[in-house]
Every structure is written in structure tokens, then in C-alpha cells.
Symmetry: C2
Subunit: 272 residues, 2 copies
């Protein structure tokens, strides 16, 4: 599988479609079966008003998602990518599409909106989709969602072997020698669920905002198979071979199983 850490052109939907088409072609040529692109790769991220976001938004059957669906069929791959969505009734969502060679299989709307996103987007309220593809059962969530382990648990309980997460991780300072906290959380999310995770970050500088550029693919124990990257300023791709069947077993010792050992009856207050 591949994560393409791209640099969108803010507000230029046509240029971003071309960028994603090139990236998917490159990933497919490198042998990828599953290609993850960043959050809001259709539009860029740093909106300053709801009107700006609306001007960049497209329906889930709009030109960008239709392109990704065609690319998935053409290259015979799964594509998971983020886009700025507008619905028929005018709501804006920070969304991600999952397309496979048979068509558009799912649209996920980010449930946990980061910082100013809440000023323009409506939070989604549907659980992450888990889609059965020819490569395995693949789930989708977006960026800040990954920092809510209850939310990550849902697709894992629904049988996801791989969670694909378009992200835009804003840069911040961290202690020398440390991985980004977001990467560490992805590792933990994966390990406690025995589920692969591919988080595809963006790159470049947009309206003064830099990014961690920390795209990473981790295995079902949370160990990085590729990445985490550092920002390159020009974009980058990581690829890894993932035996997704490893995620079918949650056993971690002769008598321990990360899912069967849960005590859901004791967790009630988490959902109140």
C-alpha cells in the first residue's frame, strides 16, 4: 500500500485533481493496491471563512470523487482520499471517499472537528465505514478522529483489517528525538486493536501553516512499516507490503486477546 504525501494548491480544484491522478498513477506503478491521499486534498486546508470552504466544496458525486472512482477502476486499486464536501442541503463536511475498482464504496464525514474546522464544517455522526474490498476489510477516518480511541475502536470491532486515515497534521514543536504525538497515537491505536493503520499527511506550507509531514504505515502491532516521514517541501510517497490477514487475530499471548479481553460492561460511562 501507499501514502502519497502531497501538496495541494489552495483553492485550485482542477490542479488538485491532476495532482491526485499523477500520485495514484505513481503509486499504482510502484505496485500499490491501496492508495491513501491527504485530508482535504481536493481543496487545501487553511480556510479563513465558511464562504471560502463553500467555494471549494463539491458533492460526493462531483468531479473530484468521480475522477477517483475512475482512477480506482483504471489502476485496479483502492483509493482513500479527503475532500471538501457540500450536500444538497448546503451542509459542508470534511469528508473522505473510498473508491475501489467496482465504484464509490463509502463516504465518511469527519466526526471530530479540529480547532477552526468547526467554524465551517458540520461534524459527521455516522461511524467510520468498513468496506469489504478484494484486498481486505478497509475502514476510513480522518485526522483528529484518530485521537479518540473510542472512535478507532468501532471500525476495529466491525472487523476492519486496515484503517486508512487522510490527515493534515499541523506542525508544532516537540522534544528533540521524539516522534510526533500523532504518530505515537496511531501506533497505539493500531496495537490495541491489532489493526493496520495508514495515515497520509500533507506537505508544504499553506498560508503560513506548516505540517508534520509524518505519513506512516503501521502494522497490527503498531510498528512502522514505512515512515514516519518528515516534511520534504516537495511531497513524498511511502509504500509498504501489508499482510492484512495478520489483523484477523487479536491474540497477543496464549490466553490473551486484545478484543476478547475487553470488559465492555464496565465502559458504560465512556458513552454517556
Amino acid at each position: 500500500m501507499a501514502c502519497c504525501q502531497l501538496i495541494p494548491s489552495f483553492g485550485d480544484l482542477a490542479a488538485n485533481r491532476d495532482l491526485t491522478a499523477s500520485a495514484v498513477a505513481e503509486a499504482a506503478a510502484a505496485g500499490a493496491s491501496v492508495v491513501v491521499l491527504p485530508e482535504l486534498i481536493s481543496s487545501g486546508y487553511v480556510f479563513e471563512s465558511r464562504e471560502e470552504a463553500r467555494a471549494c466544496a463539491q458533492p460526493s458525486d462531483g468531479e473530484t470523487v468521480r475522477l477517483w472512482t475512475r482512477l480506482a477502476a483504471h489502476h485496479q486499486v483502492v483509493i482513500v482520499a479527503g475532500f471538501c464536501e457540500v450536500t444538497a442541503d448546503g451542509e459542508l463536511y470534511n469528508s473522505a471517499a473510498l473508491a475501489d475498482p467496482t465504484g464509490l464504496r463509502g463516504v465518511y464525514r469527519k466526526a471530530h472537528l479540529w480547532d477552526a474546522e468547526r467554524l465551517w464544517f458540520t461534524p459527521g455522526s455516522d461511524a467510520p465505514p468498513v468496506v469489504t474490498t478484494r484486498f481486505g476489510r478497509i475502514a476510513v477516518m480522518i485526522c483528529y478522529d484518530l485521537e479518540f480511541p473510542e472512535w478507532v475502536r468501532l471500525p476495529a470491532l466491525d472487523g476492519a483489517q486496515l484503517l486508512c486515515a487522510p490527515v493534515n497534521w499541523p506542525a508544532y514543536s516537540r522534544p528533540a528525538g521524539e516522534r510526533a504525538a500523532e504518530v505515537i497515537r496511531v501506533q497505539a491505536d493500531a496495537g490495541v486493536n491489532r489493526m493496520f493503520i495508514a495515515a497520509c499527511d500533507r506537505d508544504g506550507i499553506e498560508r503560513g501553516v506548516g505540517w508534520i509531514g509524518g505519513s506512516v504505515i503501521v502494522d497490527a502491532d503498531g510498528w512502522p512499516l514505512a515512515g514516519p516521514l518528515e516534511p520534504t517541501g516537495s511531497g513524498a510517497m511511502i509504500t509498504a507490503a501489508c499482510k492484512l490477514d495478520d489483523a484477523l487475530s487479536k491474540a497477543v499471548s496464549p490466553l490473551s486477546d486484545m478484543h476478547a479481553d475487553r470488559r465492555p460492561g464496565l465502559y458504560r460511562r465512556v458513552a454517556e
Copy 2:
């Protein structure tokens, strides 16, 4: 605060009491206000039968916990330490006591039993206690509990500023250069809750079992303040100054808050 990565003498309760008394004295002399000792430090870990565990078990008002309560008063510290507990009706628990200068403040019984522990211990079913001490609000859980983020969430929602976790992390091989997965999960547990965590591991070899020896104290963002240690073969202590008030705010950006941004109404299936 301090974590004392000790080596218990298997089955020798008197020797282990002496060991913990020395360790608490050393930690207090080093200026610690909160001292965490390993899981099952009263007895050792590698039981081979329920009878062995029973022979090492003591009630929560037994000699070991009474010693810790006296030590807490004598040194004017909080002590969190693991012990093999037997109740009046003969149930065995993998427990931890929290004592402060005013007395025994809480006993927690491990809810998520690791591997063979389930052959001798009864799982606890009470949420981790959150105790208001003169140093802040302190919670307790034990080892494998830390790998269930729903469980870690509960004391955080209950206002814990610091989670003290006696652990016994069995050694296993991991990729070169990687921290133990358990440490990474502690970092994530802390960061997504903005809560300090002190995990105190054990050291040495017991009945052929080695340990990660990865004691670590992390801040409310999950960054290590001390440790993670490597096994030393002779025991070790880590100390860190923790401003526990940092954990009072869950804000992580102008409009984002790790607790307020939760969507508990969407997490229902986590508790089913």
C-alpha cells in the same frame, strides 16, 4: 515523583516488605512526593498455580499494606504499589494500594487480567479510584489495564491529574530502535487525556521470565519526563518533577479540547 523499578524475591513476603521500605525511603530522600512501586511487588509475579498465589496473598489490611500506610505517613508521601490480595471470602485479586499520609485511601483490583493471571486471579469490576491527595488527584490502574483506552478514559473523566500504574511488562523482542509498545501506549493514553502517567515496571529475571524494565513518567502531552528505562538487572529509580495542574486543562488549541471534543453519544457500541 518517583518510580522504583525493583526486583522482588519470589514468594518472600518479608523480604519484599523490606525492599519496598528501603525504596520508599530512598525515593523520599530524593525528594519524591509520590512513589510508585511495581505490580505484585509483595510477592513476585510468575505463579504456576492458584495455590502458589494463595500462599502469597494478603488481605488489604494485612502486613504489607499496613507497612505502606505507615511509610506514607512517616515519609509524608503518596505510595502506590501492587500486591497479591485475598479477600475474606477467599477470592484472589491482582491489586494495588494507594496510601497517603492520612492512611489507606484506595485499593484497586486489576480489571483486565493478562494471560495466565486469569487462572488464579478474579478480575476486578470497580472503576479505577481517583483519590484527592495533597499533591493532586491521583488514580490507580495496573499493567494490561493501560492497553484498554476506554478504561484509561474513566479516571481521566473523573478528574485524575496523574495515573499511577504498577506494571510487570514481560519482555519480548521488538524492532531495533523502537520503544516498547507498552510505553508507546502509555504516551498515547496520557496525551489523549492530558493526564500524567507514571508506570513503574519491575526488573530482574523470575523463573526464566525477563521484563521490559521500561518504567516511565510522562507528562500530560505524553512526552517522557523520565525513562523509559531499560532493564538493569539490579533495579533502578526514575524521578521527575510534575506540574500536575497542567492536567487540569484539556485544551490543545484555541478551539479544541481533548475531552470536550469527545462525542460520547456516538461511542455507545464501545460499551455493548
